[in-house]
């Protein structure tokens, strides 16, 4: 008789001691007998036998220790061997069920990838501290308005709560010549202390010296890393080189590192602010003020101090009565990210919903998977597999799927990150420096493993309760546990609800885009090319020469074949730049020091109104006779006419618009249609137009309307511009449609991402419905067979099954619609022309969801209807 020695658990040391004692006792007894047989007395024999094993207690202890070491070692080896077996078994199972494996892996990859990418962006843009010295001490001063050089100098001298005050003036287009092709640079002007205040170092050369904002010293520039590489070939000797910027010989003093970005993204060169107290622009407000809080100062104390300066600055710089309204100091990061916070949080919420759907789907699949294997597990239990072995097997399977899915998710995250960088508006601060975040990845990996374990434990707990006898006696289809089915139904309801919320969000954004695209914005953005022209040549010395240059250029451009109209303005509507001026009306004098209303003013040339298709409502447009020497004329927008002359004809009235009329009274000669120049959804912007011949601005954005594709005339346009002066760059070439698209870019991005998430969520939800319905059909095969045998019509059975799927999704849709009503509030600021609780959109969403549910249930329903009654009743 023999028995396999059971492997002892680590806590079986008592058993080991007993075994050693027993083995040694046998050993001594056998030797004693051996010696007795050799003729020794029993006493002597026993003594010699004992002497062989040495000091008995020491030997016992020594052998116990060595036996324990053996057991530990063998247990560990067995554990690893079993794990290897489990893993290879799990892998074989995965390969044998490619559909299940594929869906589960894709679901994981999708959930983790989308989440990692989106959260990396949110973290990089919203949560990561700005990459400057002590970023939490940086403040945006009076962020709702721009400040003038005069105010900057005043604050630098007087503010005690700010150890440093700097200014940043964004959006300077600078023509650079003398380094490769003439090029229009996206530049910014900063106060000379800007870089030191942030605490950043240049990669090459130096930052600005304190005197470089003074007249005569300001022709210096710092290059961005990108410009240095593309235009100067990354040549380190670039520092000290002189290039022409807007016609001025300008010395390059430094190059910033590639990672540097501040306030405005995509800046190619930084130039000093030009601070000249004698200039009329000294008190003109053009720059964003930023500062560093002094030690012990707070945002509140800085705000208080700033407010106390207002009366003195108003008096010193002759500002109007309303100067100083809304004075405040806020954290720089909060100020920079405030506008994008909502968009990113909406997208993050959508991703979270998608991830929850994915997680519910994986849970659903795992449960279905375990149920399908119920009978197999029962057989293995009956054949002697312990409950622990089965649980471990199931856990290994779910973990394996989670880990592989997680790895795929990292890959998907990298791709998603790249896609997001392309899709999100480039103006998002710090977007270019965002990368896949290691912390985020770690969290996502942890979540994956946790969910893998979670969905392993649930089914495992159910499966380990399998009673081998019971499970084997009934048919496989009937053995699925009721608890598991209701859990799966709950998962499906949750999936449908979340998908409905996503689809509702996408629906609202789609409706918004549809409305924005159909909106009458006052001009026709289709079929026109735009570009910026800023002549810097020495030939155009007088303002009159520049104005004539633009007129002649417009004329010559209109002769290009395929061009049907040419006009220009200093900035085009929706380009993000509207110049405002304070309004005076001759017939309604405004008391001194009272607040002046503000209107947008545009200086136009060529056939601006005809090319933009802005209709003339009253009076006349500008003609060639409205020259510098002719009386000053002005055209106003319809809403301005309605506002100031509600029941009168404004033609012939005289107005004055800040520096838009050079302080001269101009006579209203016409009224044109309103243009939504600030944003497509901002109606009623009051605007005036002046002929550039009387305004003499030195740069223009041209609009060229074409019969065909606007981009097809680009090379002809360049040829015409260069025939005037080969050093003038044709910059910012884009279609007017692109400008419009950019103006609704954030909404379009949100709409596209939400639509993508909604499609994925719906797909996953459909898989969930399909899975559950198919499963319950399998369970009811016998019942369906009986029904068919009793004469149920195929159609009725199909409907019965589809109804099951519909009932399930109806609950999900109901929950989802209520969820959408709440979640819609987050979209409030993004939707346009549609309310977030719009019943038409929501009922369309509900109908869609029910249709998808019906489609997902239809496959299993057809199979149910074709059940062969005889086969079903025979059992398996």
């Amino acid at each position: 008789m023999s028995a396999r020695i059971p492997r002892l658990q680590p806590d079986g040391s008592a058993d080991i001691d007993r075994e050693i004692r027993e083995e040694l006792a046998t050993h001594i007894a056998m030797w004693t007998e051996h010696y007795v047989a050799r003729g020794l007395s029993r006493d002597a024999a026993e003594r010699r036998a004992l002497a062989r094993v040495g000091e008995l207690q020491v030997t016992l202890d020594t052998l116990s220790a060595s036996a324990r070491h053996r057991e530990d070692f063998m247990n560990r080896r067995e554990w690893w061997a079993a794990l290897r077996a489990d893993v290879s078994f799990a892998l074989r199972q995965m390969i044998r069920q490619p559909a299940f494996t594929l869906v589960a892996l894709l679901t994981f990859a999708l959930g983790i990838g989308a989440n990692t990418a989106m959260f990396s962006v949110v973290r990089g843009v919203l949560l990561r501290p700005l990459p400057y010295r002590e970023p939490e001490r940086l403040a945006a001063i009076w962020p709702t308005r721009a400040i003038s050089n005069a105010e900057l100098v005043y604050l630098q001298h007087n503010a005690r709560s700010l150890s440093d005050v700097a200014a940043f003036s964004p959006g300077w287009g600078i023509a650079m010549t003398g380094a490769g092709d003439p090029r229009q640079l996206a530049a910014a002007r900063t106060s000379t202390n800007f870089f030191q205040m942030l605490g950043v170092q240049p990669a090459l050369g130096r930052v600005f010296a304190p005197t470089e904002s003074d007249p005569g010293n300001w022709d210096v520039a710092i290059l961005s890393h990108g410009l240095w590489l593309t235009q100067f070939g990354g040549d380190a000797s670039v520092v000290g080189r002189v290039v022409d910027m807007d016609g001025q010989p300008t010395r390059i003093v430094g190059v910033m590192p590639a990672s540097f970005e501040a306030i405005q993204s995509g800046v190619e060169a930084w130039l000093p602010l030009q601070i000249d107290p004698k200039s009329p622009f000294y008190t003109g407000q053009t720059a964003i003020a930023v500062g560093r809080l002094a030690p012990r100062a707070t945002l509140a104390s800085a705000t208080t101090e700033l407010a106390s300066f207002v009366p003195r600055m108003r008096a010193a710089f002759n500002y109007t009565e309303d100067y100083g309204r809304g004075v405040t100091v806020v954290g720089l990061q909060e100020n920079l990210t405030g506008g994008t916070r909502r968009v990113l949080l909406v997208l993050l919420g959508a991703v979270a919903a998608l991830v929850l759907i994915a997680v519910a789907n994986v849970g659903n699949l795992m449960l279905a998977h375990t149920n399908a294997r119920h009978r197999e597990l029962a057989i293995r239990r009956a054949l002697g597999a312990s409950r622990q072995q089965i649980v471990r097997q199931l856990l290994v399977q779910s973990l394996l799927i989670a880990v592989i899915g997680g790895l795929l998710g990292v890959g998907a995250g990298v791709l998603g990150m790249a896609a997001l960088k392309v899709m999100l508006p480039a103006t998002l601060p710090m977007l270019s420096t965002v990368s896949l975040d290691v912390g985020v990845l770690t969290v996502c990996a942890a979540v994956t493993i946790a969910s893998g374990l979670g969905f392993g434990i649930g089914p495992a707990a159910l499966a380990s309760r399998v009673d081998p006898d019971g499970a084997l006696r009934v048919s496989a289809a009937d053995s699925g546990s009721r608890a598991s089915l209701s859990m799966r139904r709950a998962f499906v309801v949750a999936e449908v609800a979340l998908a409905v919320v996503l689809v509702a969000g996408a629906g609202l954004m789609a409706e918004t885009l549809w409305r924005l695209n159909r909106l009458n914005i006052g001009f026709d953005p289709r079929g026109a090319l735009t570009f910026r022209i800023q002549p810097t040549s020495g030939q155009l010395t007088t303002p009159q020469q520049t104005a004539r240059y633009f007129d002649e250029l417009a004329h010559r451009l209109s002769l290009i074949p395929g061009v049907v109209g040419v006009g220009a303005a200093q900035h085009l509507p929706l380009s993000g730049f509207n110049w405002n001026g304070s309004l005076d009306i001759e017939s309604h004098p405004i008391p001194t020091n009272a607040a002046h209303p503000s209107v947008v003013w545009r200086s136009v040339t060529g056939d601006y109104f005809g090319t933009m298709r802005i209709p003339l409502l009253r009076g006349r447009l500008f003609t060639a006779n409205d020259t510098r020497d002719a009386p000053a004329v002005i055209i106003i927008s319809a809403s301005m006419a309605a506002h100031y002359w509600p029941d009168r004809n404004p033609i012939g009235e005289r107005i004055r618009v800040g520096n838009g009329t050079n302080k001269n009274w101009a006579t209203i000669i016409g009224v044109v249609g309103d243009v939504r120049s600030a944003a497509p959804d901002a109606a009623g912007v009051e605007e005036v137009y002046r002929p550039n011949a009387q305004q003499n601005l030195r740069f223009m954005h041209f609009v060229v309307r074409t019969a065909g594709n606007p981009m097809s005339v680009v090379s002809s346009v360049r040829a015409v511009v260069h025939s005037f002066d080969p050093t003038v760059p044709v910059a910012e070439v884009q279609s007017l449609g692109d400008i419009f698209a950019t103006s609704i870019g954030t909404r379009r991005t949100v709409a596209m991402l939400l639509a993508a998430f909604a499609v994925l969520g719906t797909l996953l939800g459909a898989i969930g419905i399909y899975g559950v319905v198919a499963y319950s059909v399998g369970q009811r095969t016998r019942e369906l067979g009986i029904r068919t045998a009793l004469g149920a019509v195929e159609r009725h059975i199909t409907w019965m099954v589809v109804r099951d799927g519909l009932q399930l999704s109806m609950i999900g849709v109901a929950i989802g619609i209520s969820g959408a009503l709440v979640a819609g509030r987050a979209l409030q600021a993004l939707v346009f022309g549609v309310h977030t609780t719009d019943p038409i959109v929501l009922s369309a969403v509900a109908t869609c969801a029910m249709l998808v549910a019906a489609a997902a249930s239809y496959g299993p329903a057809r199979r149910a209807a074709r059940v062969d009654p005889l086969a079903a009743l025979r059992g398996e």
């Binding site: 023999s2 046998t26 050993h27 056998m30 094993v53 020491v58 030997t59 020594t62 060595s66």
Partner: protein, 113 residues
């Protein structure tokens, strides 16, 4: 009893494997075989022998099971595994080559080749 020989490291493992090559044995049988073959000249106490058995078992060179002897005693019986037999063959081969070389050197008569 002859004078005890100091044991070379690793040789006990080999000797125990050799003992088991005759067939499954309990600890007594192994020690008896070693004693009788060496005429008691090996300095191997029984405690060390059991430790060696534990180590061999850990390495899967021997397997063990409890059996009841003819005298109705429970004894742990050790059997050489397939891996154990391969190990024994390899070690025997090594030992014979090694000892032949060392013997030849130690009994050399001439200082030059």
């Amino acid at each position: 009893m002859a004078q005890e020989l100091p044991l070379l490291k690793g040789t006990v493992d080999m000797l125990v494997l050799k003992a088991l090559s005759w067939g499954p044995m309990h600890g007594f049988g192994i020690s008896l075989w070693l004693d009788s073959q060496s005429k008691g000249s090996l300095g191997l106490d029984d405690s060390s022998m059991y430790q060696v058995l534990h180590r061999l078992e850990e390495r899967k060179l021997v397997s063990a099971e409890w059996r009841t002897t003819d005298n109705n005693r429970r004894a742990r019986v050790y059997t050489l595994t397939r891996a154990g037999r391969a190990q024994l063959d390899a070690q025997t081969d090594n030992w014979l080559r090694y000892s032949r070389v060392v013997t030849a050197l130690m009994t050399a008569r001439s200082g030059t080749a």
